[in-house]
Subunit: 331 residues, 2 copies
DNA sequence: TTGTAAGCGTTATCAC
DNA sequence: GTGATAACGCTTACAA
């Protein structure tokens, strides 16, 4: 063993007085004589031997590594998702290579290229590109966006969640509903939140209107709102916002205009964003089952044998009061 | 080239009619005949060749990969740090392997072991262990915690930030200050925030008291606070909280007891935590220069030639009003 | 069972 | 400048 560099299996073999192959077997759980087993393990410990996964990966073709491609870690949903996926991978003895893609699909493609070069066993991505798999036939699973018939997608039950939100508002006494949504450039699963909301309103025969913003900044929604508030008396008493950020902004606008929340207008958001690490929500909301989504994505990316039964995994959301509905405990 | 698997340099060499060595040179920017250069690139494009970094890493000993070990991604400071470090690494053509360590040092050691096995070129860690480098002589840089004389540490100027907070409160008219801090099990750089606060108070000759909670949950601080509020009139008019979460909780307690913030009591936190992706702060606060911290950590882990001039890099923080001080714009 | 040896895809050291 | 060829540390037939 050349000093200065790490010991290899060869060194361990020499130290233990066995052959290289035997050492390899020990570290792979392949049965080997009790004596040899022990000798090898002792020798390895004595030398401070560390398995070189690059050598193993090169030989075996499996690297036990999965790439996660995200647009950001600032949004709480994304950071939680990243953490849960990381934990889920660790439970399966996998490592996570994290890529933050800049807006624009060149960056996403670039992340994909690097992930492939790094021989990842699979990729989980929140993507806005049409199809990330340029030439590479990597195993791919997306979150919240269906990009191809052979790429499994994991999301929360956006449609069902939108429905539940509407039903909840109605149950809480709202008579005139409003649904607001910001659509991103590429259409994605979360767009169904507002569809589910509309469906439930119609089914219940309740008066409702909807405002969908395509400009991505939500300005349309804010001005739409201010327009309907001009006389100080809103012509609605319940709002479903397709995410908590939007709900927060909508709530601020309402309060600025002197509208009492939840007394005059009740608001339900979507995501389940918490303040700090605590339990405090920003608003009453539909909570996404992030851990389950992470587990599902990881299972799919590791085990999908091509014959996945369902291409879109929709996981159930749950409602929780968070101060912007009348069922919230009053401070 | 065996079909089904990815083309290798050998395949490219054959396709281009050159030798393997020449192909390697092309992909390493080593000068090669103009004609050959082009032939190789065309052949590679035609075959959809992808560099195998596992083979390169095995041979060269450098993997262009850095591990980041964090206790969580839920705290906004950590998620922002992770994102900035990821971006910083990308700018330097590096990849990031992310590890979330469970509380307790076995998990941290485990992350370290896996990072070493994966042949990372270095590790950046937010750690509570005494010394992560068990046997391995990995290049290590810590965040917010000095663990050994030869391990560089990056942090914000915690002491200076605490000082500035006190000075700011005094400047804003506070006469009787209070400093509160939650110390984690292992002493770390952020503990200096409260020291800087005390120093500035003493220097200014201002009346002040301090409450440090060692139980990690902040219960001590809350009850300390409630005790001093029992009669409804607080005997302090300015509080420095060593992080924004604490500032938020303290603010809630004060308001619950009918104390007006910032009219009666002004509060300054530390971190610069934002609501959603927006600009809204939870409180007036000392903002940490996360991007600069990330860049510094990455530079150190990649370039530290052992002869680092400063072992502790303290980056300057900045104050920003966020509603819990009188200099905040009133809504 | 255990040892031997041929690669895995690259880089790097040689002669040519 | 270019092309063979020997590693890098490991897995895995296959031989003993």
């Amino acid at each position: 063993m050349k000093k200065g560099s790490m010991p290899t299996m060869k060194d361990v073999a020499q130290e233990a007085g066995v052959s290289l192959g035997t050492v390899s077997k020990v570290f792979n759980g392949i049965p080997v004589g009790k004596m040899y087993q022990q000798q090898v393990q002792e020798a390895a410990a004595r030398l401070g031997y560390r398995l070189n996964r690059y050598a193993r990966g090169l030989k075996s073709g499996k690297t036990l590594t999965v790439a996660l491609i995200l647009p950001s870690l600032q949004t709480q949903f994304f950071s939680t998702l990243a953490q849960k996926i990381c934990e889920s991978l660790r439970e399966r003895e996998r490592q996570m290579l994290l890529f933050i893609a800049q807006p624009g699909m060149e960056s996403e493609q670039d992340c994909m290229r690097r992930a492939v070069e790094h021989q990842v066993d699979g990729v989980i991505a929140v993507t806005y590109s049409d199809d990330l798999r340029k030439n590479s036939q990597v195993r791919l699973v997306t979150i919240d966006r269906l990009i191809a018939p052979d790429v499994p997608c994991v999301s929360s039950d956006n449609y069902g969640g939108g429905q539940m939100a509407a039903q909840k508002l109605i149950e809480l006494g709202c008579k005139r509903l409003l649904g607001v949504h910001i659509a991103c450039a590429a259409s994605s699963e979360p767009d169904k939140r507002i569809d589910g909301f509309c469906f439930a309103c119609r089914s219940a025969g309740v008066e409702f209107s909807v405002c969908v913003d395509n400009q991505q900044q939500g300005e349309q929604i804010i001005s739409f709102l201010e327009q309907r508030l001009r006389d100080g008396t809103p012509d609605f008493d319940g709002i479903f916002c397709s995410n908590d950020d939007l709900a927060y902004r909508v709530g601020s606008v309402l309060r600025e205009h002197g509208v009492k929340v939840p007394e005059q207008v009740q608001i339900i958001g979507y995501d389940g964003v918490k303040k700090f690490e605590g339990r405090d929500l920003f608003c009453s909301t539909m909570i996404q089952p992030v851990k389950e989504m992470a587990d599902t994505a990881v299972d799919l990316v590791l085990n999908s044998d091509g014959t996945s039964p369902s291409i879109l995994a929709c996981l159930p959301v749950s409602y929780m009061a968070g101060g912007t509905t009348k069922d919230s405990v009053q401070p």
